[in-house]
């Protein structure tokens, strides 16, 4: 990759889906003369709203699709990029650089059972991973998704979740912290769902994305179930400005989240977190 890479490619907004009051999923289409976006689930793109700036977003769509892709964006009240992005309309143009980062090692996990755990806004890149694996279903053992959200309305991709719940080739389990009258599913933390699973620990690879307060307790349960920390993969989030390991913003000790990650094994994550917490 060269850093004409600082010059974004153009993508046109083809569709905007409202997921929750603060989150929208954008479907972007690249021009016909564009070589296309060939990505590995877990990779991200830097999206430009020209005049406002650039920010990283995980790729949420089926990686088999090369000229259209999706990303889900939460609007933060003071977001330099997310606020103007949420104001954009179908037909508007955005800049795109990528794919960037490493992605999940899905091709290395064939023959194994797959457990996917997502919390809240952690689902997008894992959604891309599920699309990838369902397209190669015979290559994997059991595929299980645990998804936790604060409320039923805070869940992303409600339609996709409905399909997966009904589908025979993936075990899709959801839970919410706080239920409402529309919800007759699980209430409680993801850890409660996890404890009910019967895993074949030594043959299971785990892919996770979500807040660290969720992930940390899950990993000790997983270790008890016999899953090695090196088989637990976490999609990390950081303030990545350049996306190509130069600007220094996402650096944690020796790791650039943008180029060494954003997917790390949990033993690496633990080391990075320990460094953070040691503080000074």
């Amino acid at each position: 990759m060269r850093s004409e890479d600082y010059l974004p490619r153009l993508a046109r907004i083809e569709d905007i889906a409202i997921e929750t009051p603060t989150e929208k999923t954008f479907t972007l289409r690249l021009g016909e003369d564009d070589p296309g976006l060939h990505f590995n689930p877990g990779q991200f793109v830097e999206i430009s709203v020209l005049g406002s700036g650039e920010a990283p977003f995980g790729l949420a769509s089926d990686p088999a699709e090369h000229h259209a892709f999706q990303m889900t964006v939460r609007r933060y009240p003071s977001g330099v990029v997310t606020v103007p992005l949420h104001r954009m309309n179908v037909g508007d143009y955005l800049g795109m650089r990528g794919p960037l980062g490493n992605g999940f090692p899905l091709a290395d996990c064939t023959g194994r059972d797959i457990l996917i755990i997502a919390g809240g806004l952690g689902l997008p890149t894992l959604r891309a991973a599920i699309f990838y694996m369902l397209a190669r279903r015979h290559q994997y053992g059991e595929i299980t998704l645990l998804y936790g959200a604060r409320t039923p309305q805070d869940r992303l991709y409600k339609e996709t979740l409905r399909e997966w719940t009904a589908a025979p080739d993936i075990n899709c389990l959801q839970t919410v912290d706080v239920a409402d009258e529309s919800w007759d599913g699980n209430v409680g933390y993801v850890s409660a769902l996890l404890e009910q699973l019967r895993l074949q620990g030594d043959n299971t690879s785990v892919f996770m994305c979500g807040p660290m307060v969720m992930i940390r307790p899950l990993t000790s349960i997983l270790v008890d179930m016999g899953v090695a920390e090196t088989s637990m993969y976490v999609n990390m989030e950081a303030h990545m400005k350049c996306g190509i390991g130069k600007c220094g913003h996402c650096l944690v000790k020796s790791k650039y989240v943008c180029t060494d990650g954003p997917v790390f094994t949990y033993d690496q994550v633990r080391e990075m977190q320990a460094y953070h917490e040691a503080g000074h």
């Binding site: 600082y6 005049g51 933060y76 003071s78 303030h239 220094g248 000790k253 020796s254």
Partner: protein
């Protein structure tokens, strides 16, 4: 730049002026040390020899590395068009230029920048274009270039550069030793052909002696950056050290803004009105409060001490050695001058080595 065998020549001192004059026949921009009205040295574009400092000038306020990696650089300019795709235009490629009179510490810094931006994937094209256009004519130090420099304490450092330049001149008595180290340098050699003589063993011996004497006079000969590197890398820094450094830190970022080796930057879109603007990158400093700012504008708990540790870690740990081909300090001493809290790199290195109660650098070691 493939490493080539360094060719060594001698230039009689009385022909030095003629050699400098010939640079202006290259038809390239010449960046050279100039003296500002109050005596400070700045590397600026010059039109003739009269505007330049040729000898006896101290270290420049800002490193000439600035011309290779500017503190502010345009990625592209854009024009928004309603209903149509915007147009993005990268800036034109930089014209070839010569930096004359760059000191060995700054040569060493550019060596590190080359590794950081060019050798590691992905390559930084913006840097590559500018670097390709640059020819470095170094002027080795025969005496300390400032009251703060400590280059011999840094790996690859010293009053005479060993690598990284295209041409290096070292004054030895009535001669300049001229070293040619690259294809770009060979161009300068050809330009100076009729002025150059063969160098003698004696001149080189004299230079080595002179180098020793120069090191003797330096502000700090014992900054021992290497020992600090070992401690930072092993995580064996005494408790309280970062707090002590933070105690003296105003979080102004001056140390890293002025550091020729620091590479971190921020990226912003600048609206110029009329639906036009540009995206620029600007140097950024991990020592400032806002550096670890997260999406949504929040700054996570990241106290000054943690940022001091981040700075030291990025500059001094083995983890980051490979990305620069050396440690993140070349001993130019600019942070020593810039820091309001008297926490330049030699002091940081000293505290890292000896713990938070170590005396100020210079108290024991100043010659």
């Amino acid at each position: 730049m493939p490493p080539t065998e360094i060719e060594v020549y001698a230039l009689p001192a009385e022909r030095f002026v003629a050699a400098v004059d010939r640079l202006f026949t290259l038809g390239e921009k010449i960046i050279a040390p100039t003296r500002a009205p109050r005596g400070d040295i700045f590397f600026r574009e010059v039109d003739s020899r009269e505007q330049m400092m040729l000898e006896g000038f101290g270290n420049s306020e800002i490193s000439p590395a600035e011309h290779v990696r500017p503190s502010k650089e345009v990625y592209f300019s854009y024009q928004l068009r309603p209903g149509e795709p915007p147009v993005m235009t990268p800036p034109p490629a930089p014209e070839p230029f010569v930096i004359f009179g760059i000191r060995p510490c700054d040569v060493s810094a550019i060596f590190a920048l080359d590794h950081f931006f060019l050798e590691r994937n992905p390559r930084d094209d913006l840097y590559a274009r500018r670097r390709r256009a640059a020819t470095l004519i170094a002027l080795a130090c025969t005496e300390p270039a400032s009251e703060a420099c400590f280059c011999p304490c840094c790996e690859g450092g010293g009053p005479v550069a060993e690598e990284g330049f295209d041409v290096q001149l070292t004054r030895v008595g009535d001669w300049y030793i001229v070293e040619i180290a690259s294809e770009k340098g060979e161009r300068i050699r050809d330009l100076w052909k009729s002025l150059l003589e063969p160098a003698t063993e004696e001149m080189l011996e004299q230079r080595a002696e002179q180098e020793e004497q120069c090191i003797e006079q330096m502000f700090s000969k014992n900054a021992n950056i290497g020992a600090a590197v070992r401690r930072v890398s092993a995580g064996k820094v005494e408790p309280g050290t970062w707090d002590e450094i933070a105690e003296h830190c105003y979080s102004c970022g001056a140390c890293s803004f002025i550091c020729p080796v620091c590479t971190c930057f921020d990226v912003n879109d600048v609206d110029m009105g009329d639906k036009q603007g540009m995206r620029v990158r600007q140097v950024d400093s991990c020592r400032t409060f806002g550096y670890p700012r997260e999406a949504a504008g929040g700054v996570r708990g990241f106290p000054t001490a943690a940022r001091a540790r981040m700075y030291a870690n990025h500059k001094l740990s083995y983890d980051h050695y490979r990305e620069r081909g050396r440690y993140g300090c070349v001993g130019c001493g600019r942070c020593v001058v810039a820091c309001l809290g008297h926490m330049g790199m030699p002091t940081i290195a000293r505290l890292v080595r000896k713990g938070p109660t170590a005396k100020q650098e210079g108290q024991e070691t100043q010659a």
